[in-house]
Amino acid sequence: MTDAQQVRPEELDGMSHLVSERALKGETMLLNMGPQHPSTHGVLRLLLELDGEIVVNCIPDIGFLHTGIEKTMESKIYIQSLVCTDRMDYLHSLGNNLCYSLAVEKLVGLDVPPRAQVLRVMLAELTRISSHLIWMGTSALDLAAMSVFLYGMRERELILDIFEMISGQRMMTSYIRPGGVWRDVPAEFEKAVRDFLDVMPRRLDEYESLLTKNALFLERTVGIGKISTEDCIRWGISGPIMRATGLPYDLRKMRPYSGYEQYDFNIPTHDGCDIYGRYLVRVQEVRESLKIIRQALDRLPYGPVRSNNRKFVPPPRSELGVSMESLIHHFKLWTEGFHAPAEGVYASVESPRGELGFYLEGDGGTKPRRAFYRGPSFANLQIMPILTRKHFVADVVGIIGSIDIVLGDTDR
Protein backbone atom coordinates (compact mmCIF):
# COMPACT_ATOMS: atom_id res chain seq x y z
CA MET A 1 0.00 0.00 0.00
CA THR A 2 2.91 2.32 -0.57
CA ASP A 3 2.02 4.03 -3.79
CA ALA A 4 -0.55 2.86 -6.30
CA GLN A 5 -0.63 -0.87 -6.53
CA GLN A 6 -2.57 -3.14 -8.80
CA VAL A 7 -5.32 -5.11 -7.11
CA ARG A 8 -6.06 -8.57 -8.36
CA PRO A 9 -9.78 -9.39 -8.61
CA GLU A 10 -9.53 -12.08 -5.97
CA GLU A 11 -8.17 -9.55 -3.47
CA LEU A 12 -11.27 -7.39 -3.65
CA ASP A 13 -12.80 -8.85 -0.45
CA GLY A 14 -16.31 -7.54 -0.30
CA MET A 15 -16.21 -4.91 -3.00
CA SER A 16 -16.51 -7.19 -6.01
CA HIS A 17 -20.15 -6.24 -6.59
CA LEU A 18 -19.16 -2.63 -7.15
CA VAL A 19 -16.68 -3.13 -9.96
CA SER A 20 -17.76 -3.97 -13.45
CA GLU A 21 -17.65 -7.35 -15.16
CA ARG A 22 -14.67 -6.33 -17.22
CA ALA A 23 -12.59 -5.78 -14.09
CA LEU A 24 -13.35 -9.22 -12.72
CA LYS A 25 -12.34 -10.76 -16.01
CA GLY A 26 -9.12 -8.79 -16.01
CA GLU A 27 -9.81 -6.54 -18.97
CA THR A 28 -9.63 -3.35 -16.96
CA MET A 29 -7.07 -2.69 -14.26
CA LEU A 30 -7.89 -2.17 -10.61
CA LEU A 31 -5.62 0.34 -8.94
CA ASN A 32 -5.47 1.04 -5.23
CA MET A 33 -4.72 4.62 -4.22
CA GLY A 34 -4.02 3.49 -0.72
CA PRO A 35 -4.67 5.10 2.62
CA GLN A 36 -1.16 6.49 2.72
CA HIS A 37 -0.76 8.67 -0.31
CA PRO A 38 0.63 12.15 -0.71
CA SER A 39 -2.40 13.47 -2.55
CA THR A 40 -5.37 12.01 -0.80
CA HIS A 41 -5.44 14.73 1.86
CA GLY A 42 -5.63 12.36 4.73
CA VAL A 43 -6.24 8.67 5.01
CA LEU A 44 -8.63 7.91 2.20
CA ARG A 45 -8.53 4.80 0.09
CA LEU A 46 -9.72 4.99 -3.50
CA LEU A 47 -10.20 1.90 -5.61
CA LEU A 48 -9.85 3.00 -9.21
CA GLU A 49 -10.97 0.90 -12.12
CA LEU A 50 -8.92 1.92 -15.13
CA ASP A 51 -9.27 1.22 -18.82
CA GLY A 52 -5.80 2.19 -19.90
CA GLU A 53 -5.50 5.67 -18.46
CA ILE A 54 -9.20 6.46 -18.31
CA VAL A 55 -11.07 6.01 -15.06
CA VAL A 56 -14.15 3.83 -15.43
CA ASN A 57 -15.17 3.81 -11.77
CA CYS A 58 -13.80 5.17 -8.52
CA ILE A 59 -14.90 3.68 -5.20
CA PRO A 60 -13.94 5.53 -2.03
CA ASP A 61 -13.29 3.50 1.12
CA ILE A 62 -13.34 5.49 4.34
CA GLY A 63 -13.07 4.68 8.01
CA PHE A 64 -9.32 4.85 8.46
CA LEU A 65 -9.60 7.78 10.84
CA HIS A 66 -12.66 6.65 12.78
CA THR A 67 -12.15 7.81 16.34
CA GLY A 68 -15.46 7.07 18.01
CA ILE A 69 -15.92 10.73 18.93
CA GLU A 70 -19.71 10.45 18.96
CA LYS A 71 -19.62 7.66 21.52
CA THR A 72 -17.06 9.57 23.57
CA MET A 73 -19.34 12.60 23.56
CA GLU A 74 -22.17 10.48 24.96
CA SER A 75 -20.08 9.70 28.03
CA LYS A 76 -19.09 13.27 28.87
CA ILE A 77 -21.11 16.21 30.16
CA TYR A 78 -22.04 18.92 27.69
CA ILE A 79 -19.20 21.29 28.46
CA GLN A 80 -16.63 18.47 28.32
CA SER A 81 -17.91 17.28 24.95
CA LEU A 82 -17.00 20.65 23.48
CA VAL A 83 -13.34 19.70 23.54
CA CYS A 84 -14.03 16.67 21.35
CA THR A 85 -15.76 18.80 18.73
CA ASP A 86 -12.57 20.71 17.88
CA ARG A 87 -10.98 17.62 16.50
CA MET A 88 -13.63 16.51 14.05
CA ASP A 89 -13.12 18.93 11.18
CA TYR A 90 -9.69 19.95 12.35
CA LEU A 91 -9.17 22.72 9.82
CA HIS A 92 -12.30 24.54 10.93
CA SER A 93 -12.17 23.92 14.68
CA LEU A 94 -13.79 27.18 15.85
CA GLY A 95 -16.65 26.52 13.44
CA ASN A 96 -17.27 23.13 15.01
CA ASN A 97 -17.33 24.78 18.43
CA LEU A 98 -19.77 27.34 17.11
CA CYS A 99 -22.12 24.70 15.70
CA TYR A 100 -22.08 22.69 18.92
CA SER A 101 -22.66 25.81 21.01
CA LEU A 102 -25.60 26.80 18.80
CA ALA A 103 -27.11 23.34 19.27
CA VAL A 104 -26.71 23.43 23.06
CA GLU A 105 -28.14 26.95 23.21
CA LYS A 106 -31.13 25.85 21.16
CA LEU A 107 -31.63 22.81 23.37
CA VAL A 108 -31.68 24.58 26.72
CA GLY A 109 -32.73 28.04 25.57
CA LEU A 110 -29.66 30.14 26.32
CA ASP A 111 -29.14 33.72 25.21
CA VAL A 112 -25.86 35.07 23.86
CA PRO A 113 -24.76 38.69 24.55
CA PRO A 114 -24.09 40.94 21.51
CA ARG A 115 -20.35 41.26 22.02
CA ALA A 116 -20.02 37.49 21.98
CA GLN A 117 -22.08 37.29 18.78
CA VAL A 118 -19.77 39.69 16.97
CA LEU A 119 -16.66 37.91 18.27
CA ARG A 120 -18.09 34.60 17.08
CA VAL A 121 -18.66 35.96 13.59
CA MET A 122 -15.13 37.34 13.43
CA LEU A 123 -13.53 34.10 14.57
CA ALA A 124 -15.67 31.98 12.28
CA GLU A 125 -14.57 34.04 9.30
CA LEU A 126 -10.91 33.92 10.36
CA THR A 127 -11.20 30.13 10.56
CA ARG A 128 -12.76 30.08 7.11
CA ILE A 129 -9.83 32.04 5.71
CA SER A 130 -7.28 29.74 7.34
CA SER A 131 -9.07 26.66 6.00
CA HIS A 132 -9.16 28.09 2.47
CA LEU A 133 -5.45 28.92 2.69
CA ILE A 134 -4.63 25.31 3.53
CA TRP A 135 -6.93 24.11 0.75
CA MET A 136 -5.24 26.39 -1.75
CA GLY A 137 -1.80 25.34 -0.59
CA THR A 138 -2.40 21.59 -0.70
CA SER A 139 -4.41 21.44 -3.87
CA ALA A 140 -1.91 23.64 -5.70
CA LEU A 141 0.83 21.39 -4.31
CA ASP A 142 -0.93 18.42 -5.88
CA LEU A 143 -0.91 20.19 -9.22
CA ALA A 144 2.80 20.92 -8.70
CA ALA A 145 2.64 24.61 -7.76
CA MET A 146 4.70 24.37 -4.62
CA SER A 147 5.28 28.04 -3.87
CA VAL A 148 1.57 28.66 -3.23
CA PHE A 149 1.76 26.15 -0.37
CA LEU A 150 4.58 28.02 1.33
CA TYR A 151 2.86 31.38 0.87
CA GLY A 152 -0.43 30.07 2.23
CA MET A 153 1.21 28.66 5.35
CA ARG A 154 2.97 32.00 5.90
CA GLU A 155 -0.39 33.83 5.99
CA ARG A 156 -1.90 31.16 8.13
CA GLU A 157 0.74 31.78 10.78
CA LEU A 158 -0.68 35.30 11.20
CA ILE A 159 -4.13 33.87 11.89
CA LEU A 160 -2.75 31.27 14.28
CA ASP A 161 -0.96 34.03 16.17
CA ILE A 162 -4.33 35.74 16.65
CA PHE A 163 -5.86 32.49 17.94
CA GLU A 164 -2.96 32.02 20.31
CA MET A 165 -3.40 35.55 21.58
CA ILE A 166 -7.01 35.01 22.58
CA SER A 167 -6.98 31.46 23.85
CA GLY A 168 -3.44 30.25 24.33
CA GLN A 169 -3.72 27.48 21.73
CA ARG A 170 -2.89 27.67 18.04
CA MET A 171 -5.33 25.17 16.65
CA MET A 172 -7.72 23.38 18.97
CA THR A 173 -8.84 26.41 20.90
CA SER A 174 -12.29 25.44 22.33
CA TYR A 175 -12.86 29.16 22.60
CA ILE A 176 -16.51 29.38 21.55
CA ARG A 177 -18.62 27.81 24.29
CA PRO A 178 -22.37 27.55 24.95
CA GLY A 179 -23.49 30.92 26.26
CA GLY A 180 -20.86 33.03 24.56
CA VAL A 181 -17.13 32.74 24.36
CA TRP A 182 -14.64 31.62 26.98
CA ARG A 183 -13.19 34.98 28.02
CA ASP A 184 -12.76 38.47 26.70
CA VAL A 185 -10.15 39.27 24.06
CA PRO A 186 -6.98 41.09 25.14
CA ALA A 187 -6.23 44.68 24.16
CA GLU A 188 -3.83 43.74 21.34
CA PHE A 189 -6.52 41.77 19.51
CA GLU A 190 -7.97 44.67 17.54
CA LYS A 191 -4.61 45.90 16.30
CA ALA A 192 -3.54 42.40 15.29
CA VAL A 193 -6.73 41.83 13.30
CA ARG A 194 -6.49 45.23 11.58
CA ASP A 195 -2.89 44.55 10.60
CA PHE A 196 -3.95 41.22 9.15
CA LEU A 197 -6.79 42.87 7.21
CA ASP A 198 -4.38 45.40 5.73
CA VAL A 199 -1.85 42.79 4.66
CA MET A 200 -4.15 40.10 3.29
CA PRO A 201 -5.70 41.63 0.12
CA ARG A 202 -2.30 42.30 -1.47
CA ARG A 203 -1.16 38.79 -0.65
CA LEU A 204 -4.31 37.35 -2.21
CA ASP A 205 -3.53 39.30 -5.36
CA GLU A 206 -0.09 37.68 -5.36
CA TYR A 207 -1.55 34.19 -5.17
CA GLU A 208 -4.05 34.98 -7.89
CA SER A 209 -1.30 36.27 -10.13
CA LEU A 210 0.42 32.90 -9.70
CA LEU A 211 -2.55 30.71 -10.52
CA THR A 212 -5.61 32.36 -12.01
CA LYS A 213 -4.28 33.02 -15.49
CA ASN A 214 -1.55 30.42 -15.44
CA ALA A 215 -1.83 28.40 -18.65
CA LEU A 216 -0.74 25.15 -17.03
CA PHE A 217 -3.18 25.57 -14.18
CA LEU A 218 -6.00 26.33 -16.63
CA GLU A 219 -5.17 23.25 -18.69
CA ARG A 220 -5.43 21.05 -15.65
CA THR A 221 -8.55 22.54 -14.16
CA VAL A 222 -10.95 23.92 -16.77
CA GLY A 223 -13.58 21.43 -17.81
CA ILE A 224 -12.42 18.76 -15.36
CA GLY A 225 -14.64 17.23 -12.71
CA LYS A 226 -18.01 18.61 -13.75
CA ILE A 227 -21.25 18.15 -11.84
CA SER A 228 -24.61 19.79 -12.49
CA THR A 229 -26.86 21.61 -10.04
CA GLU A 230 -29.53 18.90 -10.15
CA ASP A 231 -26.98 16.28 -9.24
CA CYS A 232 -25.77 18.46 -6.40
CA ILE A 233 -29.25 18.67 -4.94
CA ARG A 234 -29.85 14.95 -5.50
CA TRP A 235 -26.67 14.03 -3.67
CA GLY A 236 -26.98 16.59 -0.89
CA ILE A 237 -23.88 18.56 -1.83
CA SER A 238 -23.54 22.05 -0.44
CA GLY A 239 -20.78 24.58 -0.15
CA PRO A 240 -18.36 25.78 -2.84
CA ILE A 241 -19.09 22.75 -5.04
CA MET A 242 -22.72 23.81 -5.38
CA ARG A 243 -21.86 27.49 -5.65
CA ALA A 244 -19.53 26.70 -8.53
CA THR A 245 -22.55 25.36 -10.45
CA GLY A 246 -24.26 28.72 -10.28
CA LEU A 247 -26.65 28.34 -7.35
CA PRO A 248 -26.01 30.93 -4.59
CA TYR A 249 -26.89 28.66 -1.68
CA ASP A 250 -25.10 29.73 1.50
CA LEU A 251 -26.34 29.01 5.00
CA ARG A 252 -25.18 32.40 6.20
CA LYS A 253 -27.85 33.99 4.00
CA MET A 254 -30.54 31.28 3.91
CA ARG A 255 -30.71 30.28 7.59
CA PRO A 256 -28.67 32.99 9.29
CA TYR A 257 -27.20 32.35 12.71
CA SER A 258 -25.26 34.44 15.19
CA GLY A 259 -26.27 37.75 13.65
CA TYR A 260 -25.10 37.18 10.06
CA GLU A 261 -28.13 38.97 8.64
CA GLN A 262 -26.69 42.30 9.83
CA TYR A 263 -23.57 42.07 7.66
CA ASP A 264 -23.27 43.14 4.06
CA PHE A 265 -21.53 40.53 1.90
CA ASN A 266 -22.06 38.74 -1.43
CA ILE A 267 -22.20 35.06 -2.27
CA PRO A 268 -19.67 34.33 -5.02
CA THR A 269 -20.79 31.89 -7.70
CA HIS A 270 -19.42 30.67 -10.99
CA ASP A 271 -21.03 28.81 -13.88
CA GLY A 272 -18.22 26.47 -14.74
CA CYS A 273 -19.11 23.50 -12.46
CA ASP A 274 -15.49 22.42 -12.72
CA ILE A 275 -12.33 22.59 -10.60
CA TYR A 276 -11.50 26.08 -11.88
CA GLY A 277 -14.92 27.37 -10.83
CA ARG A 278 -14.46 26.00 -7.32
CA TYR A 279 -11.05 27.63 -7.12
CA LEU A 280 -12.44 31.03 -8.14
CA VAL A 281 -15.37 30.71 -5.74
CA ARG A 282 -13.10 29.96 -2.80
CA VAL A 283 -10.66 32.78 -3.52
CA GLN A 284 -13.56 35.21 -3.78
CA GLU A 285 -14.97 33.85 -0.52
CA VAL A 286 -11.75 34.80 1.24
CA ARG A 287 -12.22 38.38 0.03
CA GLU A 288 -15.82 38.41 1.25
CA SER A 289 -14.68 37.07 4.63
CA LEU A 290 -12.23 39.95 4.92
CA LYS A 291 -15.15 42.35 4.32
CA ILE A 292 -17.19 40.70 7.05
CA ILE A 293 -14.33 40.82 9.55
CA ARG A 294 -13.80 44.51 8.89
CA GLN A 295 -17.49 45.25 9.45
CA ALA A 296 -17.54 43.16 12.61
CA LEU A 297 -14.48 44.88 14.02
CA ASP A 298 -16.05 48.28 13.39
CA ARG A 299 -19.24 47.38 15.19
CA LEU A 300 -17.78 45.44 18.15
CA PRO A 301 -19.87 46.60 21.13
CA TYR A 302 -18.83 46.71 24.76
CA GLY A 303 -20.40 44.33 27.20
CA PRO A 304 -20.14 40.88 28.73
CA VAL A 305 -18.95 37.97 26.65
CA ARG A 306 -20.87 35.26 28.50
CA SER A 307 -24.52 34.77 29.23
CA ASN A 308 -25.74 35.69 32.70
CA ASN A 309 -27.74 32.52 33.08
CA ARG A 310 -25.81 30.92 35.90
CA LYS A 311 -27.74 27.69 35.68
CA PHE A 312 -25.90 26.81 32.47
CA VAL A 313 -22.88 29.06 32.12
CA PRO A 314 -20.14 29.10 34.81
CA PRO A 315 -19.56 32.51 36.44
CA PRO A 316 -16.30 34.40 35.86
CA ARG A 317 -13.60 33.58 38.36
CA SER A 318 -13.48 37.11 39.74
CA GLU A 319 -16.93 36.59 41.26
CA LEU A 320 -16.05 33.44 43.11
CA GLY A 321 -14.38 35.21 46.01
CA VAL A 322 -17.29 37.52 46.77
CA SER A 323 -20.51 35.65 46.07
CA MET A 324 -21.73 32.41 47.64
CA GLU A 325 -24.21 31.66 44.88
CA SER A 326 -21.48 31.97 42.27
CA LEU A 327 -19.38 29.46 44.14
CA ILE A 328 -22.25 26.99 44.32
CA HIS A 329 -23.06 27.43 40.64
CA HIS A 330 -19.41 27.00 39.70
CA PHE A 331 -19.16 23.83 41.76
CA LYS A 332 -22.36 22.27 40.41
CA LEU A 333 -21.58 23.10 36.80
CA TRP A 334 -18.03 21.84 36.78
CA THR A 335 -18.63 18.65 38.76
CA GLU A 336 -22.09 17.56 37.68
CA GLY A 337 -23.03 19.74 34.71
CA PHE A 338 -26.39 21.12 33.72
CA HIS A 339 -29.46 19.05 32.85
CA ALA A 340 -30.87 19.24 29.35
CA PRO A 341 -34.44 18.28 28.36
CA ALA A 342 -35.20 15.04 26.54
CA GLU A 343 -35.64 16.72 23.15
CA GLY A 344 -33.67 16.78 19.93
CA VAL A 345 -32.45 19.86 18.08
CA TYR A 346 -30.47 20.41 14.90
CA ALA A 347 -28.18 23.40 14.36
CA SER A 348 -26.13 24.08 11.26
CA VAL A 349 -23.43 26.49 10.14
CA GLU A 350 -21.68 27.12 6.84
CA SER A 351 -18.26 25.55 6.92
CA PRO A 352 -15.72 26.05 4.12
CA ARG A 353 -16.78 22.64 2.82
CA GLY A 354 -20.53 22.87 2.98
CA GLU A 355 -23.29 22.47 5.50
CA LEU A 356 -21.99 21.42 8.89
CA GLY A 357 -24.63 20.37 11.36
CA PHE A 358 -25.07 18.99 14.83
CA TYR A 359 -28.06 16.94 15.94
CA LEU A 360 -28.09 16.92 19.72
CA GLU A 361 -30.57 14.97 21.78
CA GLY A 362 -30.68 15.15 25.54
CA ASP A 363 -32.19 12.64 27.91
CA GLY A 364 -33.06 14.78 30.89
CA GLY A 365 -29.66 14.17 32.45
CA THR A 366 -26.27 15.78 32.24
CA LYS A 367 -24.90 13.79 29.29
CA PRO A 368 -26.26 13.81 25.72
CA ARG A 369 -28.10 10.76 24.50
CA ARG A 370 -26.97 11.29 20.92
CA ALA A 371 -24.56 13.77 19.43
CA PHE A 372 -24.61 13.32 15.68
CA TYR A 373 -22.25 15.35 13.52
CA ARG A 374 -23.33 16.00 9.96
CA GLY A 375 -19.98 16.43 8.30
CA PRO A 376 -19.99 18.00 4.84
CA SER A 377 -17.21 15.79 3.52
CA PHE A 378 -19.21 12.63 4.25
CA ALA A 379 -21.84 13.73 1.75
CA ASN A 380 -19.39 15.35 -0.66
CA LEU A 381 -17.26 12.24 -1.00
CA GLN A 382 -20.14 10.20 -2.41
CA ILE A 383 -19.95 12.00 -5.74
CA MET A 384 -16.40 10.87 -6.50
CA PRO A 385 -17.61 8.24 -9.05
CA ILE A 386 -19.58 10.92 -10.90
CA LEU A 387 -16.78 13.44 -10.95
CA THR A 388 -14.02 11.12 -12.09
CA ARG A 389 -15.86 9.16 -14.77
CA LYS A 390 -13.99 9.26 -18.09
CA HIS A 391 -11.13 11.34 -16.78
CA PHE A 392 -7.47 10.49 -16.73
CA VAL A 393 -5.78 9.17 -13.62
CA ALA A 394 -3.81 12.38 -13.24
CA ASP A 395 -7.06 14.34 -13.01
CA VAL A 396 -8.24 12.31 -10.04
CA VAL A 397 -5.64 14.06 -7.91
CA GLY A 398 -6.89 17.50 -8.91
CA ILE A 399 -10.50 16.48 -8.35
CA ILE A 400 -9.86 15.25 -4.81
CA GLY A 401 -8.17 18.55 -4.06
CA SER A 402 -11.08 20.54 -5.41
CA ILE A 403 -13.69 18.79 -3.29
CA ASP A 404 -11.67 19.84 -0.23
CA ILE A 405 -12.31 16.84 1.99
CA VAL A 406 -11.12 16.55 5.52
CA LEU A 407 -11.15 12.98 6.74
CA GLY A 408 -11.76 14.08 10.31
CA ASP A 409 -15.32 15.07 9.58
CA THR A 410 -15.95 12.10 7.29
CA ASP A 411 -14.90 9.45 9.76
CA ARG A 412 -15.31 11.28 13.06
Binding site: I62, M254, Y359
Partner: protein, 170 residues
Amino acid sequence: MDETLQAAATAIQERFGAEVHEYAGEINLIVAAEKNIEVLTALRDEFGFDFFIAGTAVDYWPQEQPRFHVLYMLYSMAHNLTLRLRVPLDGNAPSLRTAEGVFANANWYEREMYDMFGITFIGHSDLRRILMPKDWQGHPLRKDYPLGYEEVRFTFNYADVDRRKPLAKE
Protein backbone atom coordinates in the same frame (compact mmCIF):
# COMPACT_ATOMS: atom_id res chain seq x y z
CA MET B 1 -44.53 28.24 12.20
CA ASP B 2 -44.46 28.73 8.44
CA GLU B 3 -47.67 28.02 6.53
CA THR B 4 -46.06 25.68 4.01
CA LEU B 5 -44.50 23.69 6.81
CA GLN B 6 -47.81 23.64 8.68
CA ALA B 7 -49.62 22.49 5.56
CA ALA B 8 -47.08 19.73 4.91
CA ALA B 9 -47.21 18.55 8.51
CA THR B 10 -51.01 18.47 8.61
CA ALA B 11 -51.21 16.69 5.26
CA ILE B 12 -48.77 13.98 6.35
CA GLN B 13 -50.59 13.68 9.64
CA GLU B 14 -53.93 13.11 7.94
CA ARG B 15 -52.76 10.84 5.18
CA PHE B 16 -50.29 8.61 6.95
CA GLY B 17 -51.29 8.92 10.59
CA ALA B 18 -48.11 10.64 11.74
CA GLU B 19 -47.70 12.46 15.05
CA VAL B 20 -46.35 16.00 15.03
CA HIS B 21 -43.97 17.08 17.79
CA GLU B 22 -42.62 20.59 17.92
CA TYR B 23 -39.71 21.93 19.96
CA ALA B 24 -37.58 25.07 19.63
CA GLY B 25 -39.14 25.96 16.28
CA GLU B 26 -38.42 22.58 14.67
CA ILE B 27 -40.93 19.96 13.56
CA ASN B 28 -40.57 16.24 14.19
CA LEU B 29 -42.93 13.93 12.30
CA ILE B 30 -43.17 10.49 13.89
CA VAL B 31 -44.17 7.92 11.28
CA ALA B 32 -44.63 4.16 11.50
CA ALA B 33 -41.92 1.98 9.99
CA GLU B 34 -44.10 0.50 7.24
CA LYS B 35 -44.84 3.88 5.69
CA ASN B 36 -41.40 5.49 5.63
CA ILE B 37 -40.86 5.32 1.85
CA GLU B 38 -44.34 6.65 1.05
CA VAL B 39 -43.89 9.59 3.40
CA LEU B 40 -40.45 10.40 2.01
CA THR B 41 -41.68 10.24 -1.58
CA ALA B 42 -44.66 12.46 -0.76
CA LEU B 43 -42.45 14.99 0.98
CA ARG B 44 -40.01 15.07 -1.92
CA ASP B 45 -42.52 15.24 -4.79
CA GLU B 46 -45.49 17.16 -3.45
CA PHE B 47 -44.07 19.46 -0.80
CA GLY B 48 -40.63 20.19 -2.32
CA PHE B 49 -38.34 18.67 0.33
CA ASP B 50 -35.70 17.63 -2.19
CA PHE B 51 -32.48 18.00 -0.19
CA PHE B 52 -31.55 15.15 2.11
CA ILE B 53 -29.36 16.64 4.82
CA ALA B 54 -28.54 13.53 6.87
CA GLY B 55 -29.86 10.25 8.22
CA THR B 56 -29.00 8.87 11.60
CA ALA B 57 -30.41 6.86 14.48
CA VAL B 58 -30.85 7.22 18.25
CA ASP B 59 -30.75 4.34 20.71
CA TYR B 60 -33.20 4.32 23.61
CA TRP B 61 -31.88 1.24 25.41
CA PRO B 62 -32.93 -0.23 27.91
CA GLN B 63 -36.37 0.61 26.53
CA GLU B 64 -37.04 -2.13 23.97
CA GLN B 65 -40.29 -0.98 22.35
CA PRO B 66 -39.27 1.09 20.50
CA ARG B 67 -35.52 0.89 20.88
CA PHE B 68 -34.28 2.88 17.89
CA HIS B 69 -35.56 6.01 16.25
CA VAL B 70 -34.28 6.40 12.71
CA LEU B 71 -34.08 10.09 11.81
CA TYR B 72 -34.25 11.62 8.35
CA MET B 73 -33.46 15.34 8.12
CA LEU B 74 -34.87 17.02 5.05
CA TYR B 75 -34.60 20.51 3.59
CA SER B 76 -36.67 22.25 0.95
CA MET B 77 -34.61 24.45 -1.36
CA ALA B 78 -37.60 26.26 -2.80
CA HIS B 79 -39.26 27.16 0.50
CA ASN B 80 -36.15 27.23 2.75
CA LEU B 81 -37.62 24.94 5.43
CA THR B 82 -36.22 22.05 7.45
CA LEU B 83 -38.13 19.00 8.63
CA ARG B 84 -37.27 15.91 10.63
CA LEU B 85 -38.83 12.48 10.21
CA ARG B 86 -38.60 9.93 13.04
CA VAL B 87 -39.29 6.23 12.50
CA PRO B 88 -39.46 4.12 15.66
CA LEU B 89 -38.05 0.58 15.43
CA ASP B 90 -38.07 -2.34 17.84
CA GLY B 91 -35.02 -3.81 19.42
CA ASN B 92 -34.76 -7.32 17.97
CA ALA B 93 -33.55 -7.42 14.35
CA PRO B 94 -34.49 -3.85 13.41
CA SER B 95 -34.96 -3.41 9.69
CA LEU B 96 -36.38 -0.79 7.36
CA ARG B 97 -36.81 -0.34 3.64
CA THR B 98 -33.98 1.63 2.10
CA ALA B 99 -34.47 5.29 1.16
CA GLU B 100 -31.80 5.07 -1.52
CA GLY B 101 -34.41 5.10 -4.29
CA VAL B 102 -35.91 8.35 -3.03
CA PHE B 103 -32.71 10.20 -2.10
CA ALA B 104 -29.45 9.02 -3.65
CA ASN B 105 -27.57 10.60 -0.77
CA ALA B 106 -28.98 8.13 1.76
CA ASN B 107 -26.63 5.38 0.58
CA TRP B 108 -23.72 6.07 2.88
CA TYR B 109 -25.88 7.28 5.77
CA GLU B 110 -27.70 3.95 5.81
CA ARG B 111 -24.42 2.07 5.63
CA GLU B 112 -23.29 4.04 8.66
CA MET B 113 -26.52 3.21 10.52
CA TYR B 114 -25.98 -0.46 9.74
CA ASP B 115 -22.39 -0.30 10.92
CA MET B 116 -23.01 1.65 14.11
CA PHE B 117 -26.46 0.40 15.18
CA GLY B 118 -27.11 -2.86 13.36
CA ILE B 119 -30.24 -1.65 11.53
CA THR B 120 -30.55 -3.57 8.26
CA PHE B 121 -31.94 -1.80 5.24
CA ILE B 122 -33.96 -4.00 2.90
CA GLY B 123 -33.08 -3.47 -0.73
CA HIS B 124 -29.86 -1.53 -0.18
CA SER B 125 -27.38 -1.96 -2.99
CA ASP B 126 -24.22 -2.20 -0.92
CA LEU B 127 -24.90 -2.89 2.76
CA ARG B 128 -21.52 -3.39 4.42
CA ARG B 129 -19.50 -1.74 7.11
CA ILE B 130 -18.23 1.70 6.34
CA LEU B 131 -16.35 3.05 9.36
CA MET B 132 -15.20 -0.03 11.26
CA PRO B 133 -12.96 -2.79 9.80
CA LYS B 134 -14.92 -5.27 7.76
CA ASP B 135 -14.57 -8.14 10.24
CA TRP B 136 -15.54 -6.16 13.35
CA GLN B 137 -18.04 -7.79 15.71
CA GLY B 138 -20.72 -5.72 17.32
CA HIS B 139 -22.31 -2.36 16.65
CA PRO B 140 -20.42 0.36 18.48
CA LEU B 141 -22.99 3.14 18.95
CA ARG B 142 -25.51 0.92 20.69
CA LYS B 143 -25.88 1.77 24.33
CA ASP B 144 -25.05 -1.74 25.53
CA TYR B 145 -21.74 -1.74 23.64
CA PRO B 146 -18.96 -0.71 26.04
CA LEU B 147 -16.87 2.38 25.44
CA GLY B 148 -13.79 0.16 25.45
CA TYR B 149 -11.50 2.39 27.40
CA GLU B 150 -8.13 1.44 28.81
CA GLU B 151 -7.33 1.80 32.48
CA VAL B 152 -5.63 5.12 33.18
CA ARG B 153 -2.09 4.82 34.51
CA PHE B 154 -1.51 6.61 37.80
CA THR B 155 1.55 6.22 39.98
CA PHE B 156 -0.07 3.62 42.23
CA ASN B 157 -0.99 1.24 39.41
CA TYR B 158 1.67 2.15 36.87
CA ALA B 159 3.65 -1.07 37.22
CA ASP B 160 0.52 -3.26 37.01
CA VAL B 161 -0.84 -1.68 33.86
CA ASP B 162 2.57 -1.50 32.26
CA ARG B 163 3.06 -5.23 32.71
CA ARG B 164 -0.19 -5.99 30.91
CA LYS B 165 0.18 -3.50 28.08
CA PRO B 166 1.20 -5.15 24.78
CA LEU B 167 4.13 -3.09 23.59
CA ALA B 168 5.77 -3.77 20.25
CA LYS B 169 9.33 -4.91 20.62
CA GLU B 170 10.45 -4.70 17.01
